[in-house]
Each structure stands twice: as C-alpha cells, then as structure tokens.
C-alpha cells in the first residue's frame, strides 16, 4: 500500500515536472523530511535505520530516516556526485580508509559528542580504540559501528581428505602446499580462492599478504614516504602468482560476490573472506556450512605475521549542506545506547558484522544465535580472535593513520598491480615499480591532506 502511494506520488510529481513546473523537484512534494543513511549492501543498515526511526517517531515528528545500500564500487560515484550536488546523505557507514580521507579533506562533522554520549571508550571491545574508526589530528570523526576481519575459510572435510594438518598453525608454505594438495585430490575444485579483480575486494585480499610479508604502501612514521617497492611487497606478489595456480582462472575478475559464490557452491577447498561466507552457507548450503571452519590467516614464515584486512566500520557525517546533523546524532546515540538494537544489528547478518561494544558482544540474544552455538570456535575467531591482527589500508600494520589509502582504493592500484602480473604476464618487480609510481603520484597530488 505504501509502495503504491509512493509510486503515484512519483508519477504525479514527474508528470508535473514534465509539464514544465520547473520549481517542483520530486522530493519536495512530500511534507515528510527524509534523511538518507548510507550503508553497505545487506540488511544491517536497514535495521540500524529502523532504530533511528524509533527515535524519530518519538522526538522528531515528520522526520524519517531511510537507508540506502551502496555497493562499495559505487561509493566513489555516489560520494563525488552527492557532495558536488551539495546533497550529501545525513550519515554514512564507511570503512575507515575512506573515513580518514574525508576527515583529512575537512568534509566531516566531529563526533566526539556522540562518542561521549554512548560511552564509546568504556564500552568498546578489547583491541580497538575509538581512534581506529576515524580520528584525524586528534579529532574523532567516526562513531564505532562494527568490525569485520578477513580470515582464512577452510572446508574441513576437503582438508582432511587431502591429508592436511590443522590450519591453526599454518604458514604461507602450508597454504600453498595445502591448496595444491586439495586441487590434486578434488577434480574440478580449486584449492584456494581469493579476489584478484580490479576492485576493492582484490585490494583488500592482496594488502593483507603484503603486510604479512612486512611491506607497506606509505609509511606514516616517515612523513608518508611511499614504500611500496620494497622486497616484501614483491615477495607478496610473487606468492600470489604462485598461489594463482591453485585458484580458478577467473579469480582475476573476482570481487566479493564471486569469492563467496565459489566457496558456498563447493568449488573451492579454502578462501579468504569475512564472516559472510558462513552466513550464506547457513542460508543456502547446509552441507558446506557444516564442514566450514574459520582460521587466522596463515603466517608469513619469516615474520610470523597474520595481518587481517579489517573493515573497522564507523558512522561518519558530512559536515556541509547536511540539515540533519543534530537529529541524526541523537537518533544514532539512541540506537547505540540500546544493547537490544545493537544485538539486532549484529544478528541481522550473522556473523558478518562483528559486535563493537562489550554489552553487545556478551548479550544472550547474540550468544544464543544458532550459528554461534554450532560454530563457537569459528565465530570466536571472527568476533575476537583476529583482533590482534586487525589493521587496514588506512592504518597499515598499525603504524599510524594515513588518509591517502582511500584514494588508492578509488584507483584500485593494489589489484591493478596483481592484474599486470597475472593477466599481462608482467614481471612482479616491474609491476610493483609501476604501482609505486601510482602511489607516489597520489601522495604528490594530495600532499595537502597530509598537512
């Protein structure tokens, strides 16, 4: 019923506009004020928005929050056009590299007041600080929302069939040999799968390997010098090249979706991914789900590191042309102060969005989730086990915050380097040098962000 009304409204206003009433934009027809909330595709942003609407109904009649799901490869188009159009969303749930970038650009509203109102510092789960979500030059610009670490997902039956040991203590060598063994044992199945397409997922999967080998893109400790062309980076790409032999050939076009598809449909023995693979297998492929286990990423044999590309996801707020700042802040605090809503949030796509608050993480409604009950070891890895290894491109190896990474992701430089090696057969060293030049350009062009 509501749907039909909206459609008629759109029809009417559109026809009016087509008829030449220039002054009547479609949205101005409704008296209701609508504040848009951006989030990743998935139900959780909708749940959070429902919580905000609970606040709006009591405290701001006529205001409605509406969630919009933005696929992350579209986020730049949306951001660029909406900010240029001076019609930003009221609130954005965003991965911290982009938060750092926008904060450094001076586009964000400070969020200290919200973090105080929700007692973020005291409630935050161990291992994270409020600053991890988006603090720049001492000002907090983000409010903690959820975390997701990228981990090593293994089908245990396939692993045992191939006679492989417990992956808990695996190194890169075990990963490579294990993937080869699985591939040899199972006709038509890949040994291992990761995203190598020119997209965000490819960037993320590649970066965690670079960090494990000890490489990083920019060094905040040395005034953001570009350090991409180190031997460690080259080693990581050489390893990827070797590993590619155990992956599906089409991995070079894979993004988030295809990696999960591959795993959930039983066409790979192992993969890199966040919690969603388990959730989707639970919904769609019970036999796969039953044998699925999550482990920390295999360690680099020399450094022993198991870095995990972590979506440290907070809420940020565009500062300019945003008429909803006060209301969105209050509504957000209302939801975050409610353990109940935060549990609903985490449960809406279990175990994809990790709980950020202690009360949320220990709430019975979350702990009693059937997946938690059945897969306690794996879910504990997903929710807490990876935390010591959590970092991301905006905070590489936890050596300091860096606002350039978001731009690097906009251009997908990391995955482009991999594609040059795997698709164009370029020498890894040469490809890394190419990437180094791109990163150096980004640093030069955006020096003003570094202050």
């Amino acid at each position: 019923m509501t749907l039909r009304l909206t459609r008629r409204g759109a029809l009417a206003s559109g026809l009016a506009a087509a008829g030449g009433t220039l002054a009547a934009p479609a949205y101005a027809q409704t008296r209701e004020r609508v504040a848009r909330i951006w989030g990743e595709p998935g139900p959780y942003i909708g749940v959070f928005t429902n919580g905000m609407n609970e606040w709006a109904q009591r405290n701001a009649p006529g205001l409605r929050f509406e969630s919009e799901q933005i696929a992350w490869d579209a986020v730049y188009t949306k951001l660029a056009t909406d900010l240029a159009a001076r019609r930003p969303p009221a609130l954005i749930s965003v991965e911290s590299p982009i938060a750092y970038q926008l904060a450094a650009e001076g586009l964000l509203e400070p969020m200290q007041d919200v973090n105080t109102a929700i007692r973020a510092r005291e409630r935050l789960v161990d291992g994270f600080t409020v600053d991890d979500f988006g603090t720049w030059k001492g000002t907090q610009y983000a409010v903690p929302l959820h975390h997701q670490g990228c981990l090593f997902v293994v089908q245990d039956d396939v692993r045992q069939e191939a006679g492989l040991s417990d992956p808990t203590n695996w190194t890169w060598n075990d990963l490579l040999n294990g993937a080869k063994a699985i591939q040899a044992k199972r006709q038509g199945s890949a040994g291992f799968t990761m995203a190598l397409g020119r997209n965000l997922c490819g960037d993320y999967h590649i970066q965690q390997l670079i960090w494990q080998a000890g490489g990083m893109t920019w060094d905040p400790g040395r005034s953001f010098e570009t350090t991409f062309n180190s031997p460690a980076t080259i080693e990581a790409y050489e390893f990827i090249k070797e590993l590619y032999g155990t992956m599906p050939r089409s991995a070079v076009e894979f993004s988030f979706l295809q990696v999960v598809d591959q795993h959930v449909t039983g066409r790979t023995g192992s993969s890199f991914y966040w919690g969603r693979t388990m959730g989707r297998a639970f919904d769609e492929a019970k036999p796969i789900y039953e044998k699925m286990e999550y482990y920390l990423n295999p360690a680099h044999p020399r450094t022993g590191q198991r870095w995990s590309w972590t979506d440290i996801n907070g809420f940020i707020m565009p500062r300019q042309n945003n008429p909803f700042i006060r209301e969105a802040k209050e509504a957000m605090a209302h939801v975050m102060n409610s353990t109940d809503w935060m549990v609903r949030y985490a449960n809406s796509l279990f175990p994809n969005v990790g709980p950020v608050f202690k009360d949320q993480a220990t709430a019975p409604a979350l702990v009693n989730n059937p997946m938690y009950q059945q897969k306690k070891r794996s879910v504990d890895v997903i929710f807490t086990g990876f935390v010591p290894y959590a970092c991301n491109s905006g905070h590489e190896i936890k050596k300091g915050i860096n606002p350039l990474a978001g731009i690097g992701h906009g251009r997908n430089v990391w995955s482009q380097v991999a594609q040059r090696i795997l698709v164009n057969n370029e020498n890894p060293r040469a490809a890394v040098e190419w990437g180094h030049r791109q990163f150096e350009d980004i640093r030069r062009e955006n020096r003003r962000l570094l202050g």
Partner: protein, 297 residues
C-alpha cells in the same frame, strides 16, 4: 523554399525552441566541458577550481593508460564495425527474400536493438560465467572445447565477449538501414540482368553492392563513431578489465572524473574524444556528400 515572405515569422517561431534547445543541451555542456578541461576540479571539493592551463591535456597525453585505451578502442571498434557490416548485409539480404512469415523473422532478428544495455550486459555476464555459464556448458557438451573457458578473465576473451555483445546488439541497426535501401532497388535491374544470364553472385556484385555502397558507407561511419564512444556496454560488462585490457576512452574519461577524482582530466579526455569525433564527421560529410546542393529533393 518558394513561399512568400509573409509567413516568415512562423518559420522563425518554429525555429526558436530548437535554437534554445541547442544552446542548453549542446553548446552549453560542451562549452562547460571545455572549461572544466582547463581547471583542476576535485568533485569532493566543488568550490575549489584553480585554472591549470594545459596541464590536464598534458596529463592525458602522457598517461600510458590513455594510449592503451585508445588502441583498445580501435580494436573494439574495428572488429565490431566490420562484423556488424558483414553480418548485417548478409542478414538483410536473407530477410529481403520473398518468403512467407518473413515479418516474424524480421521482428525477432531486429529485436536485440531495443534490448537495454544493462539487460544485455547482465545476461552476458550470466551466459559467459566461466564456472557455471551455459555457453561453456554447451561448448563442452558439443565437444568444441575440453575445459571451461574463462571468458571475462583473459584479455583477448574479454575483448571478444565485449565485441560479441556489441555485434549482437547493433547488427540490427545495419539490417534496418540496409533492408530499407534494398526495398528501393528497382526490380527491373535484376530482371534485366537475369535476361543477360547473370548468376546470383554476379547480380549481387554488379547490382546490389553498388546500390548499397552509399548507404553502407554512411552506416559504417556512424557505427564506427558510436562504437568508439560507447561507455555502457564495456562499463557494465567488464568495467574495463581484466587489468585494463578492455578500457576505452569513454571509460577512461569516466574513471578519471569519478574514481580518480580528477574531473578536469576527465573533461580533457572528453574534449580529445570530441576532436577525434570532428575528424570522423568530416569523413562522414565527405563520404555522404551531405550538405552539397541536393539534387534529389
């Protein structure tokens, strides 16, 4: 052209909306694009637009990706246009045959032209899915291939898939135009040739082809320019990948503007495309004799 001056006002009146529209929808956006190509414009900071002279153009011309996109666009355009022309003429000849039920065939074969690009691109991604796509399944079961082809994952195959998409969608355009022209060729020409004992092939070479030559030239120029400029087909199918192996200039301009936050550079790439287009249309005008004093009318 022989009317009295008295209703001249009507003529001017009728032209006014067009003059207005050309100003708003053609001249203004292009002028704005040219202006943008001389400033640095980060869409995240729309209020800050310093003039940078020719920097954007230099950036584009020094960028290897621009040249890669340029050459790939030529490969894409070349193959697409040639295949469309050849298949299009063949199909038009076939559809021109006096057979019962021809209208149904015509309808079905012209149909792809109206299918939205988004739909085709999605269908293509589904058909050519390397793991569970039907195309691989059919080829495997017929025995044409031994293992699954990673259609969109290797540069040459991705380019081939993109070309196939373009040919599938736009060959009907060639068919429509050629078919219309075929219907105007006087049948007496063929009858006379038959009397002279000319076979099917000779009749095609000596009558049909020369009659089609002009319209074909026009269609080829058109299709070349359009294909060269296409954005959506490639963006929705491969996003320029794998690597950058299916990038073309439109994608380059779009990505510079949005993903790289360099609207000025994107605009400069657009203006360069515009210059290429002008060259192309000169060719068109030469080929078609357009604008010469028209004797037919």
């Amino acid at each position: 052209m022989r009317f009295r001056l008295s209703d001249r006002q009507v003529g001017v009146l009728f032209m006014l909306p067009l003059i207005l529209a050309v100003g708003i929808f053609l001249v203004w956006p292009i002028a704005e694009a040219v202006r943008l190509s001389f400033v640095r414009y980060n869409p995240l900071r729309p209020d800050d637009q310093p003039f940078v002279g020719l920097d954007n153009y230099l950036f584009v011309l020094e960028d290897p990706l621009f040249w890669e996109s340029f050459w790939q666009a030529i490969v894409w355009t070349g193959w697409s246009t040639v295949l469309q022309a050849v298949i299009g003429v063949g199909l038009a000849l076939l559809l021109h045959q006096p057979l019962k039920g021809m209208n149904a065939f015509r309808g079905l074969l012209l149909f792809p032209y109206i299918v939205p690009t988004v739909v085709i691109a999605l269908n293509w991604r589904w058909l050519f899915n390397s793991e569970i796509g039907i195309v691989n399944h059919l080829l495997l079961s017929v025995g044409l291939i031994d293992e699954k082809i990673a259609w969109l994952s290797t540069p040459s195959m991705a380019m081939a898939s993109a070309i196939m998409l373009n040919v599938w969608k736009y060959t009907p355009f060639v068919v429509i135009v050629v078919l219309a022209r075929l219907q105007t060729i006087p049948t007496e020409l063929y009858d006379a040739a038959k009397v002279d004992g000319a076979g099917v092939l000779r009749r095609f070479r000596d009558i049909t082809l020369p009659q089609l030559a002009e319209v074909l030239a026009v269609v080829i120029v058109f299709r070349t320019i359009w294909t060269f400029n296409k954005f959506e087909e490639i963006y929705l199918l491969t996003r320029g990948g794998p690597g950058t192996s299916t990038y073309n200039l439109a994608l380059y301009a779009f990505d510079q503007s949005i993903a790289n936050l360099r609207m000025g550079v994107g605009a400069a790439a657009g203006v360069i495309m515009l210059v290429l287009l002008l060259a192309g249309s000169m060719l068109y005008i030469r080929v078609s004799g357009f604008g010469r004093e028209d004797k037919a009318a």
